[in-house]
């Protein structure tokens, strides 16, 4: 059965190769090849899952050694896959949601002439992501890690002719590279510490080394996670990444790739457990990001960017949970999975809305759409209820556990973290209700629109072709798009309950991540009640602001916080001023110095030699008599020298 693992990756990889190398001949069937291979991978995943279930709880780790990759003295990197419960969970999430989104894209990208390539990139992403979660050592994980970065780069910049998309793609890759630097340093540290970087030996010998080293490794891994999972301070790329086609946002920037950081931390759980300082840093990053993302999400009028802020915030929850140690690992993953369902569903819903609204993304130009696109409304609504943690739906189970675990941290830290998580829940309810109300309720602000809004550039390129000035005619999306949304909505509704009842998910994952029951200072019911109160408060506030009053079509100036939040809390401006501008000045100075100083010394030497020979050349005036004088003088000197030698 181990031999099937490689097949998981091989199927989408084959798809990517065929679609990208195949050329125009495959334009007609390319999308179906891509979807089929993604689905094939999912089927293989199901077979493996069934196989794992058939084994004993402690015997559910399969490894497949393919070949020796980089063998240099003590440095032995192998291409080995490891399938355990944690990877299995991810495999199913990735291939499952991935297949659905492939299917959705068939409809969504129907009019794009480069659809074949889009599916090639999607398949490439699946392969890289599967490699990431199936790798048996950190270096191979690194390959997948950068591979998904590449796929993300290609997909964000899929509409390359738009400078904004190209810039966003570049930014995403660069910011991710900073995180990757952390991962590579972590691997180097592991190598110097343990002499290897395979999961087994590294995590098994954590106890043999000093806590300082482990903290260093942990912090570097955290840096990597921050990059990939858009956590503060490397979160700035995620908002811009929404330039990509919506299915990409759903799959990569909501459901799977951005959660890789959480995977990394949970996978390295043993290491973090032994390095409490690193763990604390993880929780702090998670808590800060969950608030940061939530605040940003409240201020955005662009539906995708609002959802991106939400993604950031939800991943903040997961990171927070992962930072709590064995108390939180399982819940982090559980939230990751449920989030995969409902966030992907929300994004697909948003895509459906945009599809209907001539690719308008500004929610202030939506309104009252529930009548026109019922399926989208229902699925989106279920996703909404799931994310805010409506009792009984997925988000309720997973998020509640995280908040409990945060309180269970104990001491002041516990109160602060738990408080932040609670506050986050309230803000989540607020901004999600805001999105819901602005999109599906209220008056139909898209009617009789005189001019297109200059504020937000439209995302989809087809907008100009289809004529943006025309009044949109909202309509339900085709079946190929609604079916994935329905499936995901079902997952959002029942996933949490299915996992939580009888602690199914806990028992499934525990052998890998370990688990430890948290004991919050207050009872679990109190926490749940507090969460629900926050939820009601947040949703009520949103209703008060956006439900009862008409939404202005042009955004009001807003408070200082709102304005800052619209600009991603000024983090981008900071980056721009310090890194971009500073970097520009630095390179310009260096270019100048290279020319004037380094090259100048060389050219100066050459010039001085040239000048000297120019002077000397004047002696060569062409007059034979002049040369004769030098000869004669030379002879005189020779005579003098001879005489002197004799005298001495």
């Amino acid at each position: 059965m181990e031999n099937l693992i490689a097949l998981l990756i091989a199927a989408p990889l084959l798809g990517a190769a065929v679609l990208l190398v195949g050329g125009r001949r495959l334009d007609a069937v390319g999308h179906w090849i891509g979807t089929l291979l993604a689905a094939a991978s999912f089927v293989v995943g199901l077979v493996l899952f069934a196989g794992l279930l058939g084994r004993g709880t402690e015997d559910r780790t399969l490894t497949q050694h393919l070949f020796s990759w980089i063998p240099v003295a003590g440095f032995q990197a192998d291409v080995t896959f490891r399938l355990d419960q944690l990877s299995m969970t991810f495999v199913l999430l990735i291939t499952g949601v991935g297949s659905l989104i492939h299917l959705y894209s068939v409809g969504y990208m129907e009019h794009d002439e480069r659809r074949r390539r889009f599916f090639g990139y999607l398949n490439l992403f699946l392969a890289a992501m599967l490699l990431l979660v199936l790798a048996d050592n950190y270096l191979l994980l690194y390959v997948g890690w950068e591979g998904v970065g590449l796929a993300s780069y290609l997909l964000i910049g899929f509409w390359q002719h738009k400078p904004s998309a190209a810039t966003a793609a570049k930014k995403a890759f660069l910011v991710n590279r900073v995180g990757d630097m952390g991962l590579s340093i972590a691997i180097m540290l592991m190598f110097t510490t343990f002499g290897t970087f395979a999961f087994g030996p590294v995590l098994g010998h954590v106890g043999d080394t000093s806590e300082g080293r482990l903290t260093a490794i942990g912090l570097m891994l955290l840096l990597a996670a921050c990059g990939k999972s858009a956590q503060v301070p490397l979160q700035s790329w995620l908002g811009d990444a929404m330039e990509g086609p919506t299915p990409v946002s759903a799959l990569i920037h909501a459901a799977t790739m951005v959660t890789a950081g959480v995977y990394l931390i949970v996978r390295s759980g043993a290491l973090f457990n032994a390095a409490p300082d690193a763990q604390l840093a993880v929780t702090v990053v998670g808590a800060v990001t969950l608030l940061f993302g939530a605040i940003v999400g409240c201020a955005k009028d662009d539906i995708k960017k609002a959802l991106a802020g939400s993604t950031m915030s939800q991943i903040g929850y997961m990171v927070l949970a992962a930072g709590l140690g064995p108390v939180g690992y399982v819940f982090a993953i559980m939230h990751l999975v449920t989030h995969g369902f409902f966030k992907a569903g929300l994004f697909l819903g948003a895509g459906s809305v945009m599809h209907a609204m001539n690719d308008e993304v500004d929610m202030r130009k939506y309104g009252g759409l529930r009548k026109y696109m019922p399926v989208t409304f229902v699925t989106f609504g279920l996703g909404y209820l799931a994310i805010i943690g409506f009792p009984g739906l997925s988000g309720f189970f997973s998020k509640d556990k995280i908040i409990e675990a945060a309180f269970a941290k104990g001491g002041t830290e516990g109160w602060i973290l738990g408080g932040a998580a609670l506050l986050g829940a309230a803000i989540t309810a607020f901004y999600m209700t805001r999105v819901m109300l602005m999109t599906f309720f209220g008056e139909e602000r898209w009617r009789n629109r005189p001019t297109p809004s200059p504020a937000e550039p439209s995302v989809e390129p087809a907008a100009e072709e289809r004529g943006e000035h025309a009044e949109p005619h909202p309509h339900e999306s085709p079946k190929v798009m609604t079916i994935p949304m329905i499936v995901l909505a079902v997952g959002s509704v029942f996933g949490g309950a299915f996992f939580s009842l009888g602690d199914r998910f806990l028992h499934w994952l525990e052998p890998v991540t370990g688990h430890q029951e948290g004991h919050p200072p207050v009872s679990a019911w109190t926490v749940t009640a507090a969460t629900l109160v926050c939820l009601v408060l947040g949703a009520g506030l949103a209703w008060a602001q956006y439900g009862r009053r008409p939404v202005p079509a042009v955004a009001p100036r807003g408070s200082l916080l709102t304005r800052a939040a619209r600009r991603d809390l000024l983090q981008d401006d900071f980056n721009h001023v310090v890194l971009v501008r500073g970097g520009e000045h630095l390179t310009r100075t260096l270019v100048y110095l290279d020319h004037s100083l380094v090259d100048g010394v060389v050219n100066g030497t050459a010039a001085s030699v040239g000048g000297l020979s120019g002077r000397l050349r004047r002696l060569q005036n062409g007059f034979a008599r002049s040369y004769a004088v030098s000869m004669f003088g030379g002879a005189a000197v020779l005579v003098a020298a001879t005489l002197l030698m004799r005298a001495v």
Binding site: F623, R625, S626, V629, F632, G633, A635, A636, V639, L643
Partner: protein, 291 residues
């Protein structure tokens, strides 16, 4: 003791007197060679020095060389020099004005330094003992030379012969101008001149329009400028044209001056003579236009 023997190892008073007198002559001749303006004078001075040296050779027992010096050097080579000097132009006096900056001072400095060093060097060397040539010249100077020349130095001798031949051929190659085509007849030349049309009429005769009847004086054109065409090419190249174009005007001016002085009256202001406005080129152009 023969004179031969005497010359070999010691110097008689006669030789001393001869040396001091002739050495002075030689040095003067050498200085003359260097510093006299005209090449002919230089050549004559050099010939004098060479003859003096010939005498010294004889006094030093090199009888063969002494004679060769007179016959070959002074007689042949110096005559060659004179010949070339004549060919190039006897009267062309060399300006002694230095054109290269610092050349003269450097040359004199180097010469002085070198001379002092050389003299000092000789003075330093212990050259008191003279073996004399009595023994070497015993069988006769010429015989002695010959026996050396055809034994020890025979190879050098042969090579020198080759060198001389090469030099002769070289001189021929350098100076000889191969005439590769038949010389053009006068008729052909005339036709060519007409065809080119640059200057058809015969060249003006020198001094024809002037009051000076001499070959080295350029004829004056109607505007008073000299026509260099009227002077022989050779003279022109040597720069030996006498320019008298201003003379008439000067004479006129002098005459008027005298008239003013004598008659104490104001001369009629002569019209300002504008040379610039009426150059030879213009004249030529007018000439062509009239054709």
């Amino acid at each position: 003791m023969t004179a031969q023997h005497l010359a070999a190892y010691s110097t008689s008073t006669g030789e001393a007197v001869q040396f001091w007198i002739l050495a002075t002559v030689a040095v003067l001749g050498a200085l003359g060679t260097v510093f006299l303006k005209r090449a002919v004078h230089s050549a004559l001075c050099l010939a004098g020095t060479m003859i003096v040296l010939a005498v010294f050779y004889l006094a030093n027992g090199a009888y063969f060389l002494g004679i060769v010096q007179i016959v070959v050097y002074t007689g042949a080579i110096m005559m060659l020099f004179l010949f070339v000097v004549m060919l190039v132009g006897v009267t062309a006096a060399d300006s002694l004005k230095e054109t290269i900056k610092g050349q003269r001072w450097l040359a004199l400095l180097c010469g002085l330094g070198f001379g002092v060093l050389l003299l000092g060097g000789i003075g330093n060397a212990s050259l008191k003992e003279f073996d004399g040539l009595a023994q070497a010249n015993a069988g006769g100077n010429v015989e002695g030379l010959a026996s050396l020349l055809f034994t020890r130095y025979v190879f050098a001798f042969e090579v020198t012969g080759a060198l001389l031949i090469t030099a002769a051929v070289g001189a021929m190659v350098l100076t000889h101008r191969e005439r590769t085509e038949r010389a053009r007849t006068q008729r052909e030349l005339a036709e060519q001149r007409i065809r080119e049309g640059t200057y058809i009429p015969p060249l003006p005769a020198p001094g024809v329009y002037a009051r000076h009847n001499a070959v080295d004086i350029a004829a004056l054109l109607p505007d008073g400028t000299p026509s260099e065409l009227s002077v022989s090419k050779t003279l022109r190249r040597r720069g030996q044209i006498r320019d008298v174009s201003r003379e008439a005007l000067n004479d006129l001016r002098a005459l008027e001056q005298r008239a003013v002085e004598r008659l104490e009256r104001k001369a009629i202001e002569p019209p300002h003579f504008k040379r610039a406005g009426f150059k030879r080129a213009d004249f030529k152009r007018a000439e062509e236009a009239s054709k």
